[in-house]
Structure formats: structure tokens, C-alpha cells
Symmetry: D2
Subunit: 166 residues, 4 copies
Amino acid sequence: MSNLTEKDDAMDLCIEWLEEQGATIDGMAEVLLELQTKYIPGLTKEMCKENIVGVLKKREVQHAVMTGLELDRLAEEGLLREPLLSCIQKDYSLYGVDENLSLGICHVFGSISYTNFGYLDRLKPGILGELDSKNGKRRCSTFIDDIACALIASAASRMAHGAKKK
Amino acid sequence: MSNLTEKDDAMDLCIEWLEEQGATIDGMAEVLLELQTKYIPGLTKEMCKENIVGVLKKREVQHAVMTGLELDRLAEEGLLREPLLSCIQKDYSLYGVDENLSLGICHVFGSISYTNFGYLDRLKPGILGELDSKNGKRRCSTFIDDIACALIASAASRMAHGAKKK
Amino acid sequence: MSNLTEKDDAMDLCIEWLEEQGATIDGMAEVLLELQTKYIPGLTKEMCKENIVGVLKKREVQHAVMTGLELDRLAEEGLLREPLLSCIQKDYSLYGVDENLSLGICHVFGSISYTNFGYLDRLKPGILGELDSKNGKRRCSTFIDDIACALIASAASRMAHGAKKK
Amino acid sequence: MSNLTEKDDAMDLCIEWLEEQGATIDGMAEVLLELQTKYIPGLTKEMCKENIVGVLKKREVQHAVMTGLELDRLAEEGLLREPLLSCIQKDYSLYGVDENLSLGICHVFGSISYTNFGYLDRLKPGILGELDSKNGKRRCSTFIDDIACALIASAASRMAHGAKKK
């Protein structure tokens, strides 16, 4: 069952799936840089990229990303039963599973990520706005925009914890 | 978009989907009765059923139930991409999304439900053991057994909060 | 043990403790009105107040509010041991218990509250900014500002779920 | 503010506070060994100790531990206001903050820890039963028993994730 145990392969796949739908590491790193530059002097986009990739190394994160992106794809292809299909296709505000899955990502990186998650999810700066406004390649982006918010928010928390170590 | 706004219809559908896969209200009520009978004198199976149905009235619960059961079905029908497909088909212990979705149900009913959820999920009494051992109609039961645990645990918490009101 | 079982008395006490420290129902209602007025036509401050009080009726919410406000008071009075004392007195960004306690409030009201919580916690509009900038009566406001964010965010979610019922 | 930034010092202090109240690393390691020995062949108590200490290295865990143990102490010394004081002194089943704080610990180590947490919290094997039955040095053990459960459950999850890496 090597598929399941090779974390690095799963990470590469997550990055591929995310990038295919417009959630590029580069685009997410830009939002992160904008978000954290005032707290961390000398922060570079390269460091932001490293931290987003660092978040994607965790197995539970990979599983949440893959599950969310598959649900977006299945909704777009009409492969889910009603009323779940409409719920996801229309990004129904009371659906909640997208936020729960995303919060599952944030949990691993501690409480700083929660507040950043909510902030990004409401304001949708940069690439996040493009995902949400369906400019991504997929027409259904119910999960991907929350997941991208969670990845950025978690990377911010990862950075804050790491910075304090020194 | 009446599908999305009629909570009672969505509840009936959840019950139908759960019962089709062997997670009957009756079977879950039996586990709940066994779990709580020592704390609540005079507790009947009928009261247990009412509390499980009460949990299923909440919209976020309905969405979690439908999403989990659809993922089980899609895994069984081979409609998910690898390595997610194997993860769910084999109920991979580090998958984590099943527990996260279930905890999302528990959250709504307060902290008593967390401990009951973990207890039930480890011991799998009654109907829960049957779901997990693939005696349910579906061969893939990665989500349904955790969801049934969460519904029972949440009903126990709902009951405890209600009982104290009097 | 009537203290513990009379939920309405505990609610009145929570409101009293909150108002003493500057987190008035009125001030929180103003933030809620500002936050939700574009989504709910005809929303009034009175309706916002009712929903914040509705959130405070839940027992788990009351316990989280009381625990957080007591920790602020104990920190201010120097009654906690180090290094916890400094952590809370200085609102150390990696402390995390304040966010966890607040998220415990949000959980009861569903996933809409998470995003609003983070948004409010970052931007601190209206009364929230005053609490955070130590204009409240207490010099230590590590918990109260997160708790006020959680109460407002939960009231927004409560409102959204209620509005859809009709 | 070196107190706040020296994670290893804070860890040593957490261990000291835990051991003073009867929650020894050794006793927790015994429960962990019993819990996981059937899943991990060749597991030793030494490895269990290392994993519990590994959990205590995380800053958010340290803060949750210190906050919980201080609340137990303050309740015992009568330094909290009513009705919170009675709530904690009597380990009121609907209090909920003890479980929320503990779940905050578990979150960092992934979803396997949730189910183990609930299981341990209901059955209280070994040292956990002694803490709960007030055989610990402190008369108030509302937080410490849940925290010890969370530390053991998190160590089990940490171990499971680590084992799969190889």
C-alpha cells in the first residue's frame, strides 16, 4: 500500500491538484507575504512558499486537501446525489463541511491559524478572490477556496511558532 | 432552491440513507440506551430514538451525514482518484477526515459528546460493530461507522443538557 | 446546587461580568449589525441584541465566558503562577487558550461562526477595538476581546440559521 | 520576556506541576503502553515516555496544561467567583471547558487522538482513575484528569504518525 505511506508523493499530488485548479503555491505565497510582512521583518516570498509546502507535508492536511478537491470535482461532474449536489454546486452558505474540513487543517498548526483563516475567508485577498469568483479552472470551487485559506492561515501559524523558536 | 431550505425533507433523506446502509435509528437508539441507562433512570428506547432524530434535525449534521455517506458510496464505486480511493476503501487509520467530519457533528451538541464519541468509536458496541465489520450493505463503511458514533454521542449530550433544564 | 442548574441566573451573571468590563450587549449588537446588515435586509439593533442574548443562554457558552473573564481578573490581580501570569498579562500571541475557549463557543453555533470569529478578531471593529486597546475597565483583556468576538460571530451564525428556517 | 520564549523551561515546569498532582510521566506512560501495545509490536515504556514528553514540547500544549492546572488550584483554594467555583470544584458534567482545553491539545496531534481521548476519559484506566478519584494530591482534579487523558491520547497519535514515516 505504498500509495498511502509515501507522504512526499502524496504532497506532490496535492500540489498538482491545487495548481490545476488555480491555487498555486506562488499565488498562496503572495497572500501570505501580504498578510505577515508587517509582523516579520525581512520576510520573503521564498520563505512563504517554504512554509506553505511545510503545511502540505502533514498527512492529515494532504487527506483534507484531496477530499475537498475531489468533492469539488464530483459536484462539477454531477456525480453526487441531491440535495448534496446543489449544496456544493451553489456553495450554500450553511453547508459547513467546507469550513469543518479547513478547520481540521488549521487545528494541526495551532490557534493563530483560526483567526487568520476567518480573516482570509471573509476578505479573500489576491488569488483567493479569483478562486471564489470562479475564475479558477473548475466551475465549482466550494472547497478549494476554503482549503487555500486554511493552507495560508496554517503557514502563517507555522511561521509564527518557528520564528519564536530562535 | 427548495431542496436546500427544507430541513425536514433533508432529515428524512438522511434517515433513509443511513438505514439503507444498516445504521438504523432503532439500532443506534439501542446503543444509546445501553450507554446512558445508568445515568438517566427511567430512560426508554423511545426517548433515545427521539434524541437521535433531534440531532438529525440540525442542518450542519445533515450536511455532514450526507457528505460522509456519499464518500463511502463513491469509494465503493471506485469514483474517487488515487490515493484517496485506497485511503477510504481501506479505512486507513491516519486518514482523519472521517473523524473530523464526525467531530463537526459533536461540536454542535457540546463537550459531553466528544468523550462519548471516542468511547463508542473504540469499543463499537451493538450496531456499530456490525457497521465496521462490513456487515452493512455497503462494503465501504469508513464514514458511516464514525458518523453513527457521532450521532449517538451527540444524542447523549443533547439528553444530558435537556435533562438538566428541568 | 441551584447555582449550577439555573441557566437564566448564570446568563444574567455573564451579562453583568461582561458589561462591567466594557463588553456591553449594546456595543456587541452594534458590531453585529454592521457585520450582517448587508446580508439581512431590515436587520435592527434590537434583533442583534436578542441574538447575542440567545447565544448567552447556552450553558457551555456561559461556562466559557465565566472562565475566560476570571482568568483575565486573576492575571490582573497577579494570582496566577509564572510563566502563565506573564503569558496572559501580555496577551502573548502564541498563548492559544483564549482562541480555543472562544472557538468552543463558536462550535455550538456552526461553521459560519468560525469565519466571522477570525474576521472580527483580526479587524476588531467598534467596541472590540476598545476592549483590546485596554480602554475596558480591566487592564488585562486577553480573554474578553476574543470572547466578545466569539459571541458576536456566534450570534451571526444563529441568525443565519434562524433566518433560513422561515 | 525569556519566560515565554524558552519552550524547554516551560516543558520542565509543566512536568513538575503534573507530577506534583500525581500525573507522573511514568504513570501516563504505563497507560499509553497498555493502550498501544497491541498495535505496535515491541513497544516499550521508554518509548511511551519519550512520546509523552514529545507532546509536552509543543507550546500550545504547555499553555493548556498550565491553564488547566492553575484552574484546579484556584478552585481548590476558593479563589474563583461563584458559580464557576462550584462548577469546577464539583467537576460538573456540563462544565465543558475541561474537555475543550483538552481537545485543544489533541487537535495538534491529529484525529487519532480524539478517539483515544474519549476512550480514556470514559474508562480512566491506571493512573487516570486515581486522579479522578481524588487520590491525587489536590482535592480538585477537574482539569488534570482530562489533561492527562489528552496527553496520553496525543502521544498515541504522535506515535502512530511517526511509525508510518519509516
